[in-house]
Symmetry: C2
Subunit: 406 residues, 2 copies
């Protein structure tokens, strides 16, 4: 009989967000009248900005006419979008970037999983703990780990984020080939300083390692001295791939557009004493296994960079960040130690109990959904993540209910 990928059998059966969904379903069945407030899954709540909607509609009309119609687009994304990204997200911040180093995709989640395709199976991988579960699961699925026990997979190196290191794990004393970093961090909301990122870049260069830098939340950075891109660090262009998304910044979670930057300097070993360009490997992967993002969606993403689009997106971010302040302030006032919420839409709260008990308590006593920290790894035990993505009145109501319940 045809065999399955045996590595799938190693996957820890419960996927964080499905477990949460099941608990919510059970709660709602038992309390059909409670108006549940969701500050759990990091999904945005505000409509797309008008320039993005208008651009999508105009492109839809183009697609409906024989003269304006566009068939297969470039797998890497249209030049108009790649150029806008290179200019506005990088060069305007003094970072060197050419349009053809930007690969447009349908999601940061997809890219972070797919990127493993171009790397060898026998590499030493380091992931933070706590961490976005997709980094871990895609390594498991592709056979880069051993079995699961006690909250961890054999063969993966876990870089521990703690209150003491401000949830920014430093480079380890041992060798890694591939390192996942995410700042502003999901789930902790922590940011890395220029010095902390520089230490990672120096480590990667010394070890000839690759950093997969997830900057999906960069637009939430308020502090002027926090780097938005790993490429603001000298030397990063030879050792780091950066993944970004329109999901959280421009409300594209259901619209689907993201991008991955692969500088042309990055070299990888072919295992036989020669090197190859990582850019050309990723290009080959995308050309063969992907067909580009829908044209109207790329036009919609391009509109994010128009003056009106920028303004509309900034005001949405500002709104969510005011939510974050409210959440942070209320939890602090209630006596909890918190991280995040200053340069990130996530607030990471130390609960004093185990994560799932606290989750159950907030669900059952306050009717509020948050995310249990332990779902992000063993080091997340004893924490919860609260998301600032919701309408103001919901956030205020949720915090009132939480404070009352605690």
């Amino acid at each position: 009989m045809i065999k399955m990928n045996p590595h799938y059998a190693k996957l820890n059966a419960s996927y964080l967000f499905s477990t949460i969904a099941q608990k919510i379903e059970a709660f709602q069945a038992a309390h059909p009248d409670t108006d549940l407030i969701r500050l759990g899954i990091g999904d945005v709540t505000h409509g797309l900005a008008k320039p993005c909607v208008d651009a999508m509609k105009q492109a839809a009309d183009e697609m409906g006419s024989d003269t304006g119609f566009r068939g297969y687009g470039p797998e890497q994304g249209y030049e108009f979008l790649r150029a806008a990204i290179a200019e506005h997200d990088f060069r305007s911040r003094g970072v060197e970037m050419s349009a053809d180093e930007v690969f447009v995709s349908d999601g940061a989640k997809c890219d972070s999983g797919n990127f493993l395709d171009v790397l060898a199976a026998d590499i030493q991988v380091g992931v933070p703990d706590p961490v976005y579960p997709v980094y871990v699961d895609t390594n498991v699925m592709s056979g880069r780990t051993g079995t699961y026990s006690d909250g961890r997979y054999e063969g993966l190196a876990y870089l521990e984020g703690t209150r003491e290191n401000g949830f920014v794990p430093p480079p380890p004393s041992y060798h890694l080939d591939l390192i996942y970093l995410c700042f502003p961090n999901n789930p902790t909301g922590a940011t890395a300083t220029r010095e902390q990122l520089s230490a990672w870049v120096a480590y990667a260069r010394e070890h000839e390692a690759l950093i997969l830098f997830d900057a999906a939340y960069e637009r939430f950075i308020r502090s002027p001295d926090v780097p938005h891109s790993i490429y603001e660090i000298d030397g990063a262009r030879s050792c780091a791939v950066e993944i970004r998304s329109f999901s959280k910044t421009a409300g594209f979670t259901g619209t689907r557009c993201a991008f991955t930057v692969v500088p042309k300097e990055i070299e990888v070993s072919d295992g036989n004493g020669s090197v190859r360009s990582l850019h050309s490997l990723w290009n080959r992967r995308q050309s063969t296994k992907f067909n580009g993002v829908s044209y109207p969606i790329q036009r919609s993403a391009e509109a994010v960079y128009s003056p009106e689009g920028t303004h509309a997106v900034d005001s949405r971010i500002q709104y969510y960040m005011e939510n974050a302040s409210i959440i942070r302030e209320r939890m602090e006032r209630a006596g909890y130690a918190v991280t995040g919420g200053l340069d990130s839409p996530y607030i990471w709260v130390e609960t004093g109990t185990d994560s799932w008990s606290f989750f159950d308590r907030l669900l059952n006593e306050a009717g509020v959904v948050i995310t249990p920290g332990v779902g992000f790894g063993r080091m997340g035990e004893g924490f919860i993540r609260i998301s600032a993505f919701n309408h103001r009145e919901k956030v205020e109501e949720a915090m009132e209910r939480i404070v009352r319940a605690l």
Copy 2:
């Protein structure tokens, strides 16, 4: 230094369509005044049907309002689209299908490559020859082949399509675990009869193998007795996955929407004496590595099934099939043996010379781009593929020029 996936080094450097693009570029630089006609890459030329455009625009408006906004959708696709597909593409033809067996995606190319993720590396894979290059390349990239020589990869079984078998290779006498079938065929335009498909289903059941059935061109079938789906064959639900796309049928090549059907009956071995559901494996893959298709795009695809959408799509298909008749008839009249073009938008022509010489001749002497058959495999040598996707006047002009040049 971090190592690349070593299997990428095995890839035959020239990707068919890039080589064609380079030849075209060189020709256009040398002949800037020639109005090149493209009957090469199978990309549609007609605008989206109005109901599809309208649905996309309406959904864009919904996304722009806080009340109508939708964030993350189900990774598997929205119920409204899965249900429409199950009903109109399958149940209306008497084929058993439930909505949750349909996984909506952004492309058939992506799905056909990604599906390998859930299968073991050490399986015996059979591909037709000639064949859509993506089936082969994704097997190479995922380490399921040896090295390339003389137009073939070691370790892959090639199922030869010839004029004698009507380009429908019969099941082999040896064992295979995974078999790619595509009908109506790309590139040959051949279709498989009920008896031929039944033989494959019987083979797959006997060998406990899996058929990956690519039906991207099913809507071009005119002959009433040709099956549109592998599931029209008894027993196929336990051994076949079917991939379909809106690309060619509804002109979605640049809009991006497709789907893969995984019946719940299919079991695969876990390699340790137990079995797993392929449906649940694919669901896990998609949940972890994919985030669903853009909501406005799914609404646009749903509109294909409205009465107006169906009518508009049918009339486009009819138009392309009239092109196919013209191409077929002209080439036959010019004395060439042809296949396809009756239930498929592709016409497969025996050239009497090698494929690339014929390609060069048509490019240089007629200013017409077609696809050299050898690009689809060794058995394609001596053939070319002509695509019927173009405007009528272009097709007529191209055929006049070709007949004149030959």
